[in-house]
Subunit: 396 residues, 4 copies
């Protein structure tokens, strides 16, 4: 791979990369926290948190102060036009992703965009085209499937890629939450199809599907799926309103390499708080993981004598483990938020080295295709739906 | 309910119930062990282990001696004709269930038959008809879904029936084993469709489906499913032979009461030994269970203050728990095999009190219908298949 | 070792070994159940459950019927005098152990005695002398530290003996129960020093101390300890009575080989039901165990690459594991009670082969010495107390 | 309590508090990270990270850049003399604590000092005197037992203080690590008595002892203890050198309120990485915690019906839980390092409100007294040693 020059940068005049972030709600806070933290722990190219962008001037000012952004703005168009901005980090809601990302890429800015890539396949495609055009000019793009950078899951990928599990046969991925378990929990934009696109499917099944493809280094070819809404009405300001997205989803996925994965997700699984669980079963080894204990990976080596075989709990906090050399001594666990810290570290290193980040927009669109196929299958009573085989997985 | 006289028994001349068991392989051993043990721990009507029946005279003699059967026989027809036999316990392979059970019921013997009820729906129906005719004469019948009598699962049913979980929304049931993970594991009758009927589906998904219906006291109305065989050839005595049953199965089930259940099973999930896991999510509480730790039930009470909410590990070994008063002091766990001990206890008590056991043959056929629908859905690429709504759940 | 003839048995006229059991309370039931079960699962020499002995004729008759003893008796002296009795299994309270065991051994009967060996060191010594005299005549004796035959703990011993842990540095053994947590729980003979000898110390610390010595194949040389009674009065029939034994005990033990063990036990640890936990830390590996999940052993292999190191959960249900070939297929767990089944199997095999069982009375007395030293240390405010170094560990 | 004016500050001219930190090794990094992070998540008075102090100019410059300190210095005396410094955070090794802290307090600076308070009791006393003198002038001081601010342990304290456990009978506290398990791990200043004071005792038993006193709101009155060094020589630059501190320690502690606590710690417990485990048993409830899963607290409510009693896993990530409202939505766990973030938040709030922080230097000295008594008891072969009853626990 060739190291391309950083755009808008003249050789010999290095200056810190200028970063703008758009959005300051939950994801905006998580990304801001990562920008604020990353250089404390990792050697990354110099950068500055220049501008935080949001619609409400006062709120964005408060947020900017908290997370160390130098300036604020309410118009993202002005910001992406600025010469001193090199990176645009898009944490706005999904329906804004396509417009902002294509504009920013066209302006020669490196773009990190939160998952899911977009709310529709059409939007995703426009983003992929923009990313491909920009890539040819050395402009980088990445979609924020941050859980790839949980050290335990990065280690899982490494063990699988190294053949420690043999040929993978089955994956069981689920993501269970309960923040909608209470039927009196009020109506929001997240529960309307026109604003959210889908419910648990886009929000959390997207993570599960990405993990399946990431861990196996493989792509889904066809699916059968089902969506269900358990609470069909919720209180709005003027009385009950219909919920038009799913509370839960189930699917089986066929992968090109022959594995079969099941995915099921729910936002009404009472008592499960953030349980992204992944189980991978191969011919010579197996792995399990649960995001509620993100520093642990369970690994079974099926080639050992049966007398001492068993799932071992690896506390993924050793210097030999991915990303951990930037952190604390062994046994001192890190939190959920640092999946974002690692994501930004890698994104910055990609920019520095002139290499393409992963997950790419193509990978993000690949996940969108799988989600769309699950939705189509559900509408067809579970009938198998094929995934268009267009999207090459980027190398890593 | 009316207490009917025990057949072949004259009032005033009580004699111990005579028991014959047919089969001495894995299930035959498990049942024999239960007959041998039940009276040590529970007050049951007097009975005698009279005859153990098997095809190979020598092997059956060895088994009979081990498990305390007084006599042996190789012809089950002769045995069910004997006047001193009141109970026939059928542990023979599934393809023999219908013939033996219908003959024994016709001969006025109480029948306990191992699950699955039969290998085909047609056979199941003949058995149900035989059971209904016999029932009218006070002859009892039961199908051996023994996991209903694991104390933790009996407790789970009780908590759900008592409303501790509110309205059930979701069930996640899986049954993972790995005894076929090795692709060099040889061909057997269990891997041929003509002898086994199906693979993981009939063998272990049957338990998972029964649990779904048992715990919720509800019936499945429609399913979408998928079967898959990962190892399509296995070594036979004369070279590779094709495997014609499934290694794994996945399904979503709709229940009459509105809940949705997922079921997935595998016999190639490396490292999982006997992991029947059940998770039940209701509007006010949740439960989880894993058969590899059968003395534990995890319960979350969603009505408590959020500050102290969490899944609690109930060690189901207190005298207040189902069946435990027959066992040891608290904390002294019991094994897998006593699900059979409890099953025989209850079967004997049903005979004594003249009441109908549960699960009935109708319930066994209900499970068969669900399995058949999963198979049909799989053949149709996942399309939804409805369950004929004929089978009333017996009361308990 | 020389295989001695079975006493009272003429060559060429083999008859089943005649067994008498004394006591039918909790331990009597557990032993009876084991006698009833052992031959179902293991190849053992022929034996017959001839006589159950107890003080109350009616109660012993009921118990005998439940557990399959042919006869009952109220006078143990008559029973041990019978020619058709070869084995005496002593489940009576501790204060009767010495008298019965010495008489039975003198009568040429093989003796299995429940732990602890006796209530006093003086009694223990008389029993050891009796056992040594009898041993010279081919009469076998064993003390019932049944947890040595929990398959997971037998496996633990094997892994340690095979050097899988390197040199052992530390052991942490605790035994926590809560059946005395309620201060209204009434006064019993177990809470009076004159009948029980001690409280948690003799009852459960004895198991913990035995495990330390068993697992390491080593002996304790000195101790520092503390006893404490949290509930100093309990309701008796005529008002409050003083509790004169300990509710809890703590000790550190030095072992001859250089390891240090801590032991702590309690019967008021609310929520802990039967938690005998053992942790063993060596130079190259570690093990942990908890009796509430007795089919699991956790093992860490410290010689593996750090990246994949971790405690693995071994589900000790494989045919390769100790005792399991007599049981069920993998993953089908067994209960607490089968530690007794295995104990009787091994005792019978020792009798058959003319070898000495372990744990011997000497080993039982070794544990008593440690317990006495803990008590002495506690009385001396924790000062170190040495163990008399007289008792050789029997080989196994 | 009276809110005193912040020293060196004139009414009406608020300026950010100036902070200096001394030390940039492990603890220096952890504290710096907390200073860098705290305002992102919590409303705290304005402050500036002014100066990082360390002996090696180059290394301290690198560290300062990473963690956002404006300036660096190599002479702490000059720094504490500066008018623009209000807070001195001491992360230097223990043998420097007393000198720096007393000087800083005398200069009117608020002082946060890492635990243990000092290496000797004499030093601790001088620090307490300095703190008391400063306190009278409104100058605040705090010792860094950061684990009190792990949300799960703060919640534990709250539940105990609220009476949810009834009267506490027993505490079991242990802290197991393995970073010294390898006997080839080289000699360092931490393994010499003259520099480190003690080994595992001061390093990690200090945390365990502090937790016992903190959680119970009680003080230790007497102890019996033992220290042991398993690896007595380690490689130095010029060959083997003697290790003069303990690898492991064990103790029983009596508390004024009648509870008994056991404490045991080790740095050679192979496979245990950072396992500070605490178990608290009361008359009506119990708690357990393990620092390797710091977001979880296990709670048993002994007043519930026995049928559903069990230890529940509380995932301490709800907004209702201590400190969590500053973090992420439920289920999104935080890491070890934020115990320091919370500590600094509270320290800043104490400064703002003119209240005294806890743990105070007196509390830190209380822990030192217990550690010294354990050491004395060990030297006396385990004999009980009383704690001088001088140190009142500060209120909170």
């Amino acid at each position: 791979m060739t190291s391309l020059p950083i755009p808008n940068r003249q050789p010999g005049t290095p200056r810190p990369l200028g970063v703008a972030a758009i959005g300051y709600a939950f994801m905006g806070q998580a990304h801001s926290n990562a920008w604020r933290t990353v250089a404390n722990h990792f050697d990354v190219p110099a950068f500055e948190q220049r501008v935080l962008v949001g619609r409400h001037a006062e709120a964005v000012a408060t947020a900017a102060k908290k997370y160390g952004w130098s300036e604020t703005a309410t118009d993202w168009r002005e910001v992406i036009a600025r010469d001193d901005i090199d990176i645009v980090d898009i944490c706005a809601p999904g329906w804004l992703h396509a417009e902002i990302a294509t504009a920013a890429l066209a302006a020669g800015k490196h773009v990190l965009v939160e998952k899911p890539l977009a709310n529709s396949l059409a939007e995703s495609e426009s983003m992929v085209r923009a990313a491909q055009a920009a890539r040819a000019l050395g402009v980088r793009s990445m979609v924020g499937f941050n859980y790839r950078r949980i050290p335990a899951l990065t280690l899982a990928r490494r063990l699988i890629a190294d053949g420690r599990l043999g040929t993978i046969r089955q994956v069981r991925a689920s993501y269970l939450q309960d923040w909608l378990a209470d039927e009196e929990s009020p109506m929001t934009w997240r529960l309307r199809k026109e604003t959210a696109g889908s419910g648990a499917l886009g929000d959390i099944a997207s993570h599960a599907v990405d993990q399946v493809q990431y861990l196996l280094g493989d792509t889904v070819t066809e699916v059968s799926g089902r969506l269900h809404t358990f609470v069909t009405e919720r209180p709005g300001p003027d009385g009950p309103e219909p919920v038009t997205v799913d509370d839960a989803a189930w699917a089986t996925l066929s992968l090109a390499g022959g594995a079969v994965a099941s995915v099921d997700v729910s936002r009404v699984a009472l008592g499960q708080k953030n349980a992204l669980r992944v189980e991978v079963y191969g011919t010579t080894g197996s792995l399990t993981f649960n995001l509620e204990n993100p520093n642990e990976l369970y690994f079974l080596n099926g080639t050992e004598p049966i007398e001492v075989q068993g799932f071992r709990r690896i506390l993924v906090t050793e210097p030999e483990h991915p990303y951990i050399s930037g952190w604390w001594p062994q046994g001192h666990v890190i939190g959920w938020e640092h999946s974002f810290t690692h994501q930004i570290r890698d994104f910055l290193l990609n920019i520095q080295s002139g290499t393409d980040p992963s997950p790419s927009f193509e990978e993000g669109m690949g996940v969108q295709h799988v989600l769309a196929a699950i939705e189509a299958s559900s509408a067809a009573g579970g009938a198998t739906v094929a995934i268009p085989a267009l999207i090459p997985l980027s190398k890593d």
